[in-house]
Symmetry: C2
Subunit: 142 residues, 2 copies
Amino acid sequence: MTVSRPPRIGRVVESALYVDDLPRARDFYVNVLGGRVLLDTPRLAALDIAGESVLLLFRRGETLAPLETAGGTVPPHGAEGVQHLAFAIAAADTAQWEEHLGRSGVAIESRVRWPRGGESLYLRDPEGHSVELITPGLWATY
Amino acid sequence: MTVSRPPRIGRVVESALYVDDLPRARDFYVNVLGGRVLLDTPRLAALDIAGESVLLLFRRGETLAPLETAGGTVPPHGAEGVQHLAFAIAAADTAQWEEHLGRSGVAIESRVRWPRGGESLYLRDPEGHSVELITPGLWATY
């Protein structure tokens, strides 16, 4: 039990996925989902998402040792398996997203209508990660 | 190569971590990081982060089968290992965060000053996931 109140936290600014084929994953998040490359190395692609989030695509196995930089040490991390991320889309764009995914050869795995409102389209990135495109309504805050 | 242009993508609205001890992880993200509980089930805790992000804490193993809901099927996912997330903090709050983490018994594993500006504090959640608190500057967009 903590007795200290946290200062104000800000949003999740970086989310990370671990991938086997980094160029393929990067191209998917750029061409299919509209991310913009901020950084592109053999270890890591960082993509700007809507100017508000940074999606980090780490080549699996490349983050398991501490990374020494001029400004300090980046601690190790690294995961296996199938992760989940959801991206916000506008309800009015749902049909356009369906068309775009179809033209891009990306199957819609499932659709969910949420009791409180909002709809989700589920698809898979080339690594098999579960990607959700969600319209406002599910969460009180979104 | 896709020949279709994506509609406008929004920010990453849900990020997911997989945890062994869900109540312990939930308490950490509420008490130490300032998340707010939106949903709390044996399978999943959903936390509002700053009114802008939803952090999903999934009990490991509970998401490996499709979940049937009245509105459709939520596809399976699930990961093992040590994931990474970064939360935005204000540069002016860095000292307060250090004090708060200390009072909460959470060690600062590392600090990094980034060449383009911004500073990161790295810590571990109770599951060992690598949590970063980052001040503006590292990314052109943040």
